[in-house]
């Protein structure tokens, strides 16, 4: 009888020791975060996941670019039958808008959560050679996304000042929703993250390799961190974001300081530069969006799919976006401060078929470095730095302001303004806006530009009066419900 007990005991011991192992199952398509973020390889893949999330059509793959935001900015002809009609009318109660708004809010904050989560696991790779690079990218991304949320959902600071609640800023993983920071505080946190990122990225390979080169060494395992820095959060992007941040914080001296520092550094790095006439070649596979000017561009492999029915569909379907040219865009591109010599006017098809986003078929080896430019979506570009500098100098040194604006104009095939007479701070401000309107068609930039200046939104034959009801996106219902202020 004793033998049986011993046998059973032995059996259960055996079972128990292998039990832990047996119970530790892993699903096939999933990997636990604890396992994934153990080494650099996992971090790089997870980082790629954040970039890919930003490239979704609900974010920079469409809506925050030529989609919703540029419909609001008034670039396209949108009639009552059009899918974007509600956005065109700023009907924020409309379900179609609310769905897009909810996606933007939750996907952007979702990306922030992932940044914070990865930051909390960073100790796992403390000794890794790319530690600084990864942490710098994460902090830069966190700042960029927060700033974008601020631009859309934050208050009109021109009216409300910097001390009203703007949006929650998440500096760490938390399951408790954060209280809304004031604009001042929010932008301070953006700056703080950017400064830290700048410090971490001071040895960014982009400085030596440039933005499109692959820094990987033959024979070594592929490291995406070293490949094509221009499609990742990089040193120069962080510096440019500091300029953007200062502009939104209405801190012109800082904007000038950060902007000129960046221009000085970029003058040493030729991989990011303004285009010249030589870059405008009307060839079959031409880079119409001049990605050489992008300081950071998001690689959107599905760009062509995201444009399906928008720029290449049937003219009469409810999704197609056609530039509102006659009597409207025509005026800005060809008259006043504009000129038909404008490369943008020549190249982008603002007259009828908008071809700025013309891409290759993704099957044409989109990951080939030579083709990658067709899939690069501008996140922050060099002209913006010139425009911000111009704006920042308007009321302190109008000549410097003009010089910065003219630099951009020259690189756009436009005559210099400096030769014009009677330019004062007000007219120059208008010229800058003209330039922004011409430059950023399809980029989702103009709407928040109007918002920052609390400027009416020009439309064909009328303008939409500036109001908070237009410029401040209402919060998602769930946010109000679960994060009451």
């Amino acid at each position: 009888m004793k033998n049986i007990w011993v046998a059973m005991l032995f059996f259960f011991c055996l079972v128990n020791s292998s039990c832990n192992k047996w119970l530790d199952v892993r699903p096939k398509n999933e990997i636990y975060v604890d396992d994934a973020l153990k080494d650099r390889v996992g971090f790089v893949k997870a980082l790629a996941g954040i970039y890919l999330q930003l490239a979704e059509p609900g974010l920079y793959g469409r809506e925050l670019k030529f989609g919703m935001l540029d419909v609001m900015a008034g670039y396209w002809i949108v009639d009552e039958q059009h899918d974007y009609y509600a956005e065109n009318q700023f009907d924020f109660q409309n379900l179609a808008f609310q769905q897009k708004r909810d996606v933007i809010w939750s996907k952007m904050y979702g990306a922030i959560y992932q940044c914070n989560m990865m930051l909390s696991y960073l100790d796992n790779i403390r000794t890794d050679v790319d530690y600084n690079l990864i942490k710098g990218e994460l902090l830069g991304l966190r700042a960029y996304i927060h700033l974008e949320i601020f631009k859309l959902f934050g208050p009109v600071t021109l009216l409300r000042g910097m001390n009203t609640p703007a949006a929650p800023y998440y500096s760490a993983v938390a399951k408790e929703p954060a209280k809304f920071s004031t604009s001042q505080d929010f932008l301070y946190k953006v700056e703080k993250d950017l400064l830290e990122a700048k410090n971490l990225l001071r040895e960014d390979p982009i400085i030596i390799n440039g933005k499109i080169n692959d820094g990987n060494v033959e024979g070594q395992p592929y490291n995406a961190l070293l490949d094509r820095r221009g499609i990742r959060m990089n040193y120069y992007a962080v510096m440019a974001l500091l300029v953007r941040q200062a502009q939104w914080a209405r801190d012109k001296p800082k904007a000038i300081q950060y902007g000129e520092e960046l221009l000085a550094q970029l003058s040493l790095n030729k991989s990011i530069r303004l285009i010249n006439e030589g870059d405008i070649i009307l060839a079959e596979k031409v880079d119409r969006r001049w990605t050489v000017e992008n300081i950071w561009g998001l690689y959107v492999k599905d760009l062509r799919k995201n444009m399906d029915g928008i720029f290449d569909g049937d003219l009469y379907i409810n999704t197609v976006l056609i530039p509102d040219f006659t009597d409207f865009l025509a005026n800005i591109y060809t008259q006043g401060s504009g000129n038909i010599s404008d490369y943008r006017y020549k190249m982008w098809g603002v007259k009828d078929f908008f071809i700025k986003f013309w891409t290759l078929d993704p099957n044409e080896e989109s990951t080939k470095p030579a083709n990658a430019q067709f899939f690069e979506m501008q996140m922050i570009n060099l002209p913006e730095v010139y425009l911000i500098l111009a704006e920042s100098y308007v009321d302190r040194d109008i000549h410097k302001a003009l010089r910065y604006l003219d630099t951009l104009r020259i690189h756009r095939g436009l005559p210099k303004l400096i030769e014009k007479t009677g330019i004062n701070a007000f007219t120059l401000q208008d010229y800058i806006m003209d330039e922004v309107r011409r430059e950023y068609i399809g980029e989702g930039y103009l709407f928040t530009y109007y918002k920052r200046l609390f400027h009416p939104i020009y439309r064909n034959g009328y303008s939409i009066e500036a109001s908070e009801g237009v410029f401040v996106f209402p919060l998602p219902i769930d946010e109000k419900l679960f994060n009451p202020q």
């Binding site: 009888m1 049986i4 059973m8 059996f11 259960f12 079972v15 128990n16 832990n20 047996w22 119970l23 530790d24 199952v25 699903p27 096939k28 398509n29 999933e30 990997i31 636990y32 975060v33 604890d34 994934a36 996992g42 790089v44 893949k45 997870a46 790629a48 996941g49 890919l52 999330q53 490239a55 909810d102 809010w105 939750s106 904050y109 979702g110 990306a111 922030i112 959560y113 992932q114 989560m117 949006a167 929650p168 998440y170 938390a174 399951k175 929703p177 954060a178 592929y222 995406a224 490949d227 094509r228 492999k301 379907i317 990951t367 998602p476 769930d478 946010e479 419900l481 679960f482 994060n483």
Partner: protein
């Protein structure tokens, strides 16, 4: 002559024994077993006997008995096949020393009585015990042909008994021949055996509440829904028939036992289903052929549910299938025909004339209802008049469509099962097959079941038995192309179905509301598929090894492969695609799920019995692994409606969305139980289980569960022995069990990766799931006590149990603000405490018991009360309340639970209403602060009613006459609240454009001073959740009428039939309620009439 043979046979019995130090009782038991004889005598004589040793080999029984009785205060003598033990002193005092028996034989008063024993079906009963009590005492057994003979005297009493039959006592009164018919026990079974899934235990050894339903009872029900049957016999199994799904055969009602233990999204409250020792989905029981079931045990108290540790907290339903149990071959065939008749008595819709009048009085044809400027009113009124006249013409033409009947049918469903068993002594087999096509009340809806099972039972040696069972099943559930029933209830009766040319009208242009604009019958005629095919193959092996007298080792293992294919096809012509782009119309969803699960357990049991006690212990080890892979594909935008062909659709669809999922979960447990019974009076019980599960990450992988219980069988006490008390048992138990959370890996956050997804050249991990590493196992702490009894020759039976359960650390999905940024804005959290307490009581009384006429009638009733209460509300629950504020399409809020400390979780939420203000016709509310207002505000939502009935249960009447059995079963509920959605959705929130119930014509507010229940019809604002619609409901449902008749054996024997049973079952024929409300919204309720025949060859 026969008598002598027996004596000789008895004398020749040889005994071999080698015993060291065992009690006299054990020795006698072994002798009795070897001799295959009965042992009769006063066991009290053995009380003070010391243990003995004995070594005999092939010695005659008599000699052996003489040896062991030497020097003892008792002696033995043999009578036929009975060993009689009596006190030595008594013998000695009696001088005529030969033996008592011989003296009795010589007594002139005694004679031999003969007779035949039969059961109520006419079968001869062999082995029944026949006992005579008079001047002498005699015991014998009936022979294989039912005959018996026994020595009696003229004035004694004869008692016949046999397991499974009711005992009968008759006065001899000098008769020479008495034929006796023993009636099979229906609801009274002497030895109720509870199958816990791991062990089988006689009810008196249990220390908790449980109920058992045997095949004998199930047979009578001849009904296909196992849950309905269980509910009729033990209403503790609560079926929550929702008013939406009605009698849809493809929707299993929500089931729970003793209240709701867990709340929140994804909470699991259904009892655990165990089939032949292994956990199965509840749906498996739903589709199980009733004819295959041997017994169903319902485990309610922690003392038995704890055996399932982390899974048993919601109660356990243990189902055991039949094993081939006859050595004789037999074939049983049964068939049922069920007629399903839709029950529309809850609907009382308007006809065409009434409806148009209703529209008119609702102001639908007054321009002033919709416009305010006088100019426009005058201008528009012309159009409204035109619209009204058009509809009036239709009414005058006599169009009065009865939409409700359009999608319905009175259906006939057939079911066939066959059961074949046979084999030899060592190898027996059973083969079962079932084919049922259950048709629903809605046209083209139903459930088709096919299954087969083959069982082998092989006795390898005396000690080793092997059972192998293979089971295959396929269930096809198909839903009606006619869509939701509610869409027919809304249609306006003045619209005709067909146009002038006899074609179905697709669209009614004079309707403005999308709900009634399209003819639902048009969609019903299109290509359609909404079906699910479930199939599985399972093989189970059971090895039972009697290691020694005390030890038994059982190994039980099952392996199953299953697959389900779920298809939903919506034709591009369907009106829901009206006005949509050509490339987004048509939808086809195909979900293919393949699963594999295996489970095994090893059970080592130890049993020791002596005269005074029984000791039983089990050590069980168990593992379980469950995994599946699921591929889901959705195609959209295939303009033309070809045949439903996957290849064609794949090639032609504009959009294709594919998503894959896989899950694996594992569980391992060790269980130790012990059960001690002292003198059949005192019972002590303990169990301990350690469970580990893959679902609970590394930090909290294991959890402990335990229970202890005590029982006291008062009826075994000497002072009650003489009284007419067959059973009086008290028990109390307490312990901790759990409920399984079924989401895999709730603890671990995860990324998902798919090969094609890249950012430039790097593969990506996408953040997919937010885990909660701090999540702990939920626990249910409970205690209960109860009493059961049978008195007055079992004429009265009763039972009462009180229980108290506290669920701690419930697991629920918590929604967070989207800015937190976690996937799906949700994660799992332990939260709050929930208490359920209540009592279950049952009583039955046999009103008529006429043995001579074979007539009896008994009635019974059960009453149950459960009250659930939220004890501690955590912040998480507060959040849950917010996420429960779901708005439906029209902007009103959906009636779902509101969690409030101290309130039931079965509640109704809303704002307290003070009724309709007679001055303004508006509804007046009471805010949380106690202010009176006419503004409805989300913030004022609170608990306004409790759906939990104060009392619910069953009433039944069982009547037997010879082999006719008639049973009526009722269920009732008393005092629960309901939210009358008919009043809200169909009357107040109906601006008149959809058809509605006639009660909508009730008085509504018209002018100041009107004191009415409904607000002004001209107020166009929606009515939100309000206490005005909470009503107290009492119901009585005639759930079943059963008539069973076993044809007398002498009638059928010539057809070579062993048994022929006819049955008729009627379901849900009457339902009375104090609340008038439309029920069966998406699918109507139905009454069914079953006719069945069972034949055994």
């Amino acid at each position: 002559m026969l008598c002598q043979t027996l004596m000789v046979y008895a004398q020749q019995r040889l005994i071999t024994l080698n015993i060291k130090n065992q009690s006299m009782y054990e020795v006698l038991e072994q002798i009795r077993t070897q001799a295959k004889m009965d042992l009769v005598g006063d066991i009290g004589l053995l009380k003070d006997i010391k243990k003995i040793g004995l070594d005999v080999r092939n010695r005659d029984l008599k000699e052996v008995l003489a040896i062991i009785s030497e020097g003892q205060p008792f002696e033995f003598f043999l009578l036929r096949n009975t060993i009689i033990m009596s006190e030595k002193g008594a013998q000695k005092d009696d001088k005529q020393a030969q033996n008592k028996t011989s003296q009795i034989i010589k007594s002139p008063k005694t004679y031999i009585l003969t007779g035949v024993l039969k059961d109520d079906r006419g079968n001869y009963l062999s082995g029944a015990s026949v006992r005579f009590r008079g001047a002498i005492e005699e015991v014998t057994k009936s022979h294989s042909d039912g005959r018996y003979e026994i020595k009696v005297d003229a004035n004694g009493m004869l008692t016949c008994s046999m397991l499974g039959y009711e005992r009968q006592t008759v006065q001899i009164k000098g008769r020479k021949r008495i034929d006796i018919i023993l009636r099979g026990q229906t609801h009274i079974i002497d030895e109720v055996v509870v199958n816990t899934g791991y062990t089988r235990r006689p009810a008196p050894s249990m220390t908790g509440a449980s109920s058992v339903i045997t095949r004998r009872e199930l047979e009578k029900f001849n009904h296909r829904n196992i849950f309905t049957i269980i509910q009729s016999l033990d209403p503790a199994l609560y079926l929550d028939y929702d008013i939406v799904s009605g009698a849809n055969p493809n929707v299993i009602p929500e089931i729970y036992l003793r209240g709701i233990n867990n709340i929140g999204a994804y909470s699991l409250n259904t009892p655990l289903a165990i089939l032949d020792g292994f956990e199965v989905p509840l749906e498996r029981l739903y589709d199980l052929d009733i004819n295959r079931i041997e017994s169903i045990s319902l485990l309610k108290d922690v003392s038995s549910t704890v055996l399932y540790g982390s899974r048993g907290g919601n109660g356990v339903l243990v189902v055991e299938t039949r094993m081939p149990d006859q050595q004789k071959a037999s074939v049983t065939y049964s068939t049922t025909a069920a007629i399903t008749v839709p029950d529309l008595r809850d609907y009382n819709l308007m006809n065409a004339v009434q409806k148009l009048n209703y529209e008119k009085s609702s102001g639908l044809y007054d321009a002033s209802t919709f416009h305010t400027e006088p100019d426009i009113i005058t201008e528009q009124q012309v159009l409204y008049d035109q619209l009204y006249n058009n509809k009036r013409i239709k009414v005058l033409k006599g169009i009065d469509t009865y939409w409700l009947s359009q999608p319905l049918q009175t259906s006939l469903s057939l079911g066939n099962s066959i059961h074949i068993e046979g084999g030899s002594n060592r190898l027996r087999f059973g083969l079962e097959g079932n084919l049922t096509d259950l048709k629903g009340a809605m046209k083209k809806s139903g459930r088709e079941r096919k299954d087969a099972a083959l069982t082998f039972q092989y006795r390898i040696s005396e000690k080793l038995t092997l059972i192998n069972q293979t089971n295959i099943q396929e269930v096809k559930s198909y839903n009606s192309p006619y869509g939701a029933f509610s869409s027919y209830a809304q249609m306006n009766p003045y619209q005709s179905l067909y146009d002038g040319e006899g074609n179905l009208i697709k669209k009614y242009d004079d309707e403005t509301l999308a709900e009634v604009k399209f003819n639902p019958l048009y969609n019903a005629g299109l290509a359609h598929r909404d079906q699910k095919k479930n199939s599985f193959w399972a093989n189970r092996v059971l090895l039972k090894w009697n290691l020694s007298e005390h030890f038994v080792l059982k190994a039980n293992a099952i392996l199953e492969r299953n697959r389900s294919i779920d298809e939903k096809y919506a034709s591009p012509q369907h009106t829901r695609f009206a006005n949509m782009e050509a490339d987004s119309i048509g939808a086809y969803n195909y979900i293919d799920k393949k699963g594999l699960w295996y489970s095994a357990n090893i059970n080592l049991s130890y049993k020791k019995e002596s005269l005074n006690y029984k000791w039983n212990t089990n050590l069980i080890g168990e593992i379980k692994s469950d995994q599946y892979d699921e591929e889901s594909t959705l195609w959209k935008g295939f303009g033309s409606d070809s045949t439903i062909d996957r290849t064609w659709i794949d090639a032609n669809a504009k959009a294709k969305m594919r998503s894959d999922r896989d899950k694996i979960s594992r569980l391992a447990g060790i269980l130790l139980t012990g059960n001690y019974i002292y003198k059949n009076k005192y019972v002590a019980d303990f169990s301990y289980r350690l469970d580990g599960a893959s679902n609970f990450g590394k930090n909290n992988r294991y959890s402990h569960f335990w229970s202890v219980g005590l029982g006291y069988n008062l009826h075994e006490e000497a002072f009650l022995k003489e009284k007419n008390v067959q059973e009086l048992r008290f028990f109390v138990n307490t312990g901790v069990s759990g409920t399984e959370a079924f989401i895999a890996n709730m603890n671990s956050s995860s990324y998902i990766f798919s090969p094609g997804e890249r950012y430039f050249r790097e593969n990506v991990y996408r953040y997919y799931y937010e885990g909660n590493p701090n999540l702990k196992w939920p626990q249910i702490r409970s205690w209960s006590f109860g009493v059961t009894g049978r008195v007055w020759d079992e004429r009265i039976k009763f039972g009462l149990t009180y229980y108290n359960k506290l669920t701690d650390r419930m697991i629920s999905l918590i929604t967070v603000a989207p800015s937190v940024g976690i996937p799906n804005n949700s994660y799992f959290e332990n939260m709050g405490q929930l208490q359920n307490r209540g009592f279950e009581s049952a009583g039955a009384i046999r009103l008529v018991d006429n043995t001579s006429k074979n007539l009896n009638w008994s009635i019974g009733a059960t009453a149950i009360n459960n009250s659930g209460k939220l004890m501690k509300i955590s912040d998480a629950l507060d959040v849950l309340n917010k996420s429960n504020l779901v708005q439906s399409g029209d902007g009103t809020y959906v009636q779902n639970t509101f969690y409030q400390q101290g309130a039931s979780v079965n509640n109704i939420k809303g704002v307290k209403s003070l009724g309709i203000d007679p001055a303004s016709g508006k509804e007046i509310y009471l805010t949380k602060e106690g202010r009176i207002t006419d503004k409805w505000d989300v913030a004022d939502i609170g608990v306004i009613g409790n759906k939990e009935p104060r009392l619910f249960g069953t009433l039944n009447s069982i009547f037997n006459f010879k082999s006719l059995n008639v049973q009526a079963h009722f269920t009732y509920t008393l005092g629960g609240d309901v939210y009358n959605h008919t009043l809200v959705d169909r009357i107040e929130n109906n601006d008149g454009r959809i058809n509605t119930d006639l009660i909508a014509n009730q008085e509504r507010w018209k002018a100041p001073g009107d004191v009415v229940a409904f607000k002004d019809r001209r107020i166009r604002e929606k009515t939100y959740l309000s206490s005005r619609f909470v009503e107290r409901e009492n119901t009585l449902r005639f759930s079943m009428l059963l008539v069973n008749y076993d044809l007398p054996k002498e009638w059928i024997i010539r057809y070579k039939l062993q048994r022929l049973k006819l049955s008729f079952v009627m379901n849900d024929v009457v339902r009375l309620s104090t609340v008038e409300m439309e029920r069966g919204l998406d699918y109507p309720f139905a009454a069914t009439f079953n006719f069945g025949i069972m034949a055994q060859f």
